[in-house]
């Protein structure tokens, strides 16, 4: 028999999104997933089934998220939760979701609890931030030849986890951190942070910044004539940065990235661009859309592979774990490992690896650091 | 004679304005004392000093020989002094009864047990309410107990203010222009009430008023101030014939 939420015509999947409230700009993730599913449905669905993708606004209030997820499960009988957003909301509901055996695929959160959750039903989206942090230190050493670095980070779970990873990297690579400055996600002005970088005479900077603050940092950096090289974490890699800060200010900045480039001729990324433009024309497309896209694409790939048989959660898990070296999405390669009961979900990562780009001459250009060659 | 309230060279300045300039006076226990003077002479300011709404810059105030110039405003009731205001200052949304009950606030006992309606508080509340009703009846406010005071006619509001002051079981009441805006009939009524409060309850009364008919008939003794300073003191008849007072305040009676 089919699993809950599945009929011969339709599969119901759900997600909670901050459509309003303080982090509503991250609703872009839900829109990304939604665009993909709309595209799938417009092309006849998957094996004859339409995907009904239900998004509900939780305002980023965990108490609401909890109620919404209970509704998904008890009232709506949803099959899986795909590409929901938020660290705090997910933390509040993940126990419940797992307890009910609902697959949680590609949640937009980097918080340790959610990424390292011990469960076979959890499929985190991207690499844990601390690993990235460590990697970035290596980058400053091997690419910039830095000895003392400065870090500007967002004062939240993501930034602090980056910082933890960076500290590990400092030891590992024998580098000193001479300045580390946090900022609040909505802070109006980041000048004092950049001034301190300048004052500390750093050789290189790591920015754990989302696009808007990153743009502010680079504007300020240009203003102060601070010429040291910079590498930015993956979630700040967005065409928005040069657009907001001006090309000149971002020239030469390195970014980590997990997706293919927008102007990569690869058909999948070009298709994604077309789909987003079609369904959400008013939005400027960036990495956050692709977060949602990834979960949605992986999910529909799994359903497709399940063929015309019964669609059950157990089969879904098996099928997902069977996705190896798949190159049919916006991520260069998806390679999902197997997780036994009681093991950490880390092998389930949808996006396991990271690449780098550098912004030069008005576009992001691929950059391969020495150790990847 | 015992002094109930005494000012000793009280001075109050507002920037350049000297509202009270070394005012000294004495309010005798159990009497009705009047305070008069031209507009802006400093009467209300002096009342504010006495009731601790206003600090004085110089001088002292004694209540039964106890110096009070550093007391809190709300402590004055505990000492036994209540007051009314020149501009009616009631709790407009609340009923007459509630207004009077607030006057009795310092009698509610322990606020924590009151707040939880413990048995002792319950008993106490009942007593206070009974007394409030009595006071209201004494001031002919019996019919208005449940009406929000903002809907009452002006004269009644003045009486509610008085009732509220009385509810505190004071030994002295300061009245600032109790009959302003009342017609002669109402003035007469209030005059009687003031006299009764004084004689039946033995409460000392200190009042400011511009209605000479009232002042001259109810007061036992009158103090006159002018430009913030003492001008004259005496019995009503002495004051009425005092040349300085006539010149500064009363005016020549041309009738």
């Amino acid at each position: 028999a089919n699993g809950p939420g599945v009929t011969d015509k339709e599969i119901l999947i759900c997600s909670y999104q901050p459509m309003t409230g303080k982090v509503s700009s991250y609703f872009r993730m839900g829109k990304g997933a939604d665009a993909w599913f709309k595209h799938v449905n417009a092309n006849g669905g998957i094996n004859g089934r339409m995907i009904k993708y239900k998004m509900v606004d939780d305002k980023y209030e965990p108490a609401r998220t909890k109620n919404i997820v209970k509704r998904f499960v008890e009232r709506d009988k949803c099959f899986a939760i795909v590409a929901p957003l938020g660290s705090a909301p997910t933390k509040a509901v993940i126990d419940y979701i797992v307890e009910k055996g609902i697959p949680l695929i590609g949640a937009g959160t980097g918080a340790a609890k959610n990424v390292f959750y011990k469960s076979r039903t959890v499929f985190p989206l991207y690499p844990p931030y601390d690993k990235e942090g460590t990697d970035l230190v290596r980058f400053t050493k091997e690419v910039f030849g830095a000895k003392k670095i400065g870090v500007i980070y967002q004062n939240d779970a993501s930034g602090k986890t980056h910082l933890k990873g960076i500290e590990v990297g400092l030891k590992q690579y024998g580098i000193k951190m001479v300045a580390s400055e946090g900022y609040e996600p909505k802070e109006v002005d980041l000048s004092s942070q950049v001034i301190k970088m300048k004052n500390a005479n750093v050789d290189a900077m790591i920015c754990s910044c989302a696009p808007e603050p990153a743009a502010k940092v680079y504007t300020e950096r240009a203003k102060l004539g601070l010429k040291v090289p910079v590498v930015n974490v993956f979630f700040g890699k967005s065409p928005k940065v040069p657009e907001l800060a001006g090309q000149a200010a971002v020239e030469g900045v390195y970014f980590a990235t997990i997706f293919r480039e927008w102007d990569d001729p690869n058909e999948h990324i070009q298709k994604a661009k077309g789909i987003l433009t079609k369904y959400y024309p008013e939005e400027q497309h960036d990495a956050v859309h692709l977060w949602g896209f990834t979960g949605a694409q992986v999910f529909s790939e799994a359903i497709k592979r399940m063929g015309s048989g019964d669609i059950t959660r157990a089969r879904l898990l098996d099928t997902l774990e069977g996705i190896d070296n798949w190159k049919g999405s916006v991520v260069p390669v998806v390679d999902i490992g197997e997780v036994g009961p009681g093991e950490e979900a880390i092998k389930h990562l949808l996006v396991p690896s990271m690449n780098y780009v550098v912004y030069k001459g008005g576009k992001f250009q691929p950059f391969t650091p020495p150790w990847m060659k | 004679m015992t002094s109930h309230l005494r000012c000793d060279e009280v001075t109050v300045r507002f920037g350049g304005v000297v509202a009270c300039n070394k005012i000294s006076l004495d309010v005798e226990e159990g009497k009705i004392i009047g305070l008069i003077g031209p507009n802006g002479a400093g009467k209300t300011t002096l009342f504010n000093v006495l009731s601790r709404f206003q600090d004085c810059d110089d001088g002292h105030v004694y209540y039964r020989d106890q110096q009070i110039d550093a007391k809190n405003t709300h402590d004055m009731i505990n000492l036994g002094m209540a007051r009314t205001f020149q501009n009616i200052n009631l709790f407009g949304e609340q009923t007459t009864l509630e207004n009077i009950l607030i006057g009795a606030h310092h009698l509610i006992g322990n606020p924590y047990s009151n707040m939880l309606w413990l048995p002792s508080a319950r008993r106490n509340e009942r007593e206070l309410t009974d007394r409030a009703v009595e006071i209201a009846e004494m001031l002919n406010l019996g019919d208005e107990l449940d009406n929000p005071v903002k809907n009452l006619p002006y004269g009644h509001q003045k009486r509610v203010e008085m009732a509220r002051a009385l509810a505190a079981k004071p030994e002295m009441i300061l009245l600032d222009e109790p009959v302003a805006g009342c017609n002669d009939e109402e003035t007469a009524e209030l005059k009687e009430i003031v006299k009764r409060i004084n004689s039946e309850l033995g409460i000392t009364i200190f009042l400011v008023e511009h209605d000479m008919a009232m002042v001259m008939t109810v007061c036992d003794y009158i103090c006159v101030i002018n430009f913030g300073a003492n001008l004259a003191q005496g019995t009503p008849s002495e004051i009425q014939s005092n040349r300085d007072v006539i010149k500064a305040y009363l005016g020549e009676d041309d009738e």
């Binding site: 309003t20 303080k22 509503s24 700009s25 609703f27 872009r28 004062n155 400055e181 946090g182 900022y183 609040e184 909505k186 802070e187 109006v188 002005d189 000048s191 004092s192 942070q193 001034i195 301190k196 300048k198 004052n199 696009p211 808007e212 743009a215 502010k216 240009a222 203003k223 102060l224 004539g225 928005k240 657009e243 907001l244 001006g246 000149a248 008013e282 939005e283 400027q284 960036d286 | 209300t44 504010n48 709404f53 205001f85 020149q86 200052n89």
Partner: protein, 289 residues
């Protein structure tokens, strides 16, 4: 470092200044804190952006267009919302402005999306060197506007008949009507002014903090804090307050660490209100008994 922190702080403070002035103007004239003030600015910034992007207006025409639009918005807010509840206590008015905040946020999100948009740079990006610090030209222009508008308003309220009448209306609308003051018109004018100031604040700030439905949230909060420095009454006080906040935040961020930066404004307001309940430049104390 001090010089640069100071200068940058001054620049940031100037971003708060116009909003603070608008908060003061609305409060003085209506006794309401306008929670939607930031959103008027936000809408103004969006309008200017649309004019520039889709209709190829130049910057100054776009500013003018935005000003006209926001004045209309202010007037609309008064006619449709505030006038209906004019007799209520200020808590009700205050909550109504919150309702407008929701609506404007929703409208902006609905029509323009929730992601951040760039506002074309209008000033020469080459920074200038002053007193041992570097400052961008955009900030200088911002400061000049804030100072000029503040001065004009100050004179208007202090010396002109209409300005005094505005204050009279706040004080006691019924009596003001008895003096022949057209109360409704004056209240309308206030909201028009709120719109006018909002448009300036929004368009001037947009290139620096970018355009999005939430762009003004943080600025508005700082605007309130600054306005309290002026006792919610003094216009120069509000401007000085805004600059002070910018400077103190930056100095705290620079010397105490970035954790202390965000708390600065709120620590300042709590301390200020604890010791000077009517602000640093509050009005003469009124007697109440």
């Amino acid at each position: 470092m001090f010089g640069q922190l100071f200068i940058s702080g001054l620049a940031t403070g100037s971003l708060y200044a116009l909003t603070a002035v608008a908060v003061v103007v609305v409060f003085r004239n209506t006794r309401t804190i306008n929670l939607a003030q930031g959103d008027f600015s936000m809408i103004g910034a969006f309008v200017a952006l649309v004019l520039i992007k889709s209709f190829a207006f130049n910057y100054y025409f776009a500013l003018a267009g935005s000003v006209v639009f926001c004045i209309g918005l202010g007037i609309l807010a008064e006619r449709v919302v505030m006038r209906q509840i004019a007799d209520s206590d200020w808590l009700t008015l205050f909550t109504a402005t919150l309702g407008m905040y929701y609506i404007l946020h929703g409208v902006a999100g609905h029509f323009w999306g929730r992601d951040t948009k760039a506002f074309p740079l209008t000033f020469d990006p080459t920074p200038i060197n002053v007193f041992g610090g570097i400052i961008s030209q955009g900030h200088v222009v911002n400061m000049a506007w804030a100072a000029a508008i503040g001065l004009v308003l100050f004179i208007f309220f202090k010396y002109t008949k209409q300005g005094i009448a505005m204050r009279a209306v706040t004080d006691d609308p019924e009596t003001a009507a008895l003096m022949g003051i057209p109360v409704r018109f004056i209240v309308l004018l206030t909201w028009g002014m709120a719109g006018f100031l909002a448009a300036f604040a929004g368009v001037l700030i947009a290139p620096i903090i970018y355009v999005s439905p939430e762009m003004m949230d943080e600025v508005l909060i700082k605007g309130y804090v600054a306005a309290v420095f002026g006792g919610l009454y003094s216009i120069p006080g509000a401007i000085i307050g805004a600059l002070l906040i910018g400077i103190c935040e930056n100095l705290a961020g620079g010397y105490l660490g970035s954790h202390f930066k965000t708390v600065t404004a709120f620590a300042m307001i709590v301390l200020l209100l604890a010791f000077r309940p009517h602000g640093l430049f509050g009005i003469q104390k009124r007697r109440e008994v």
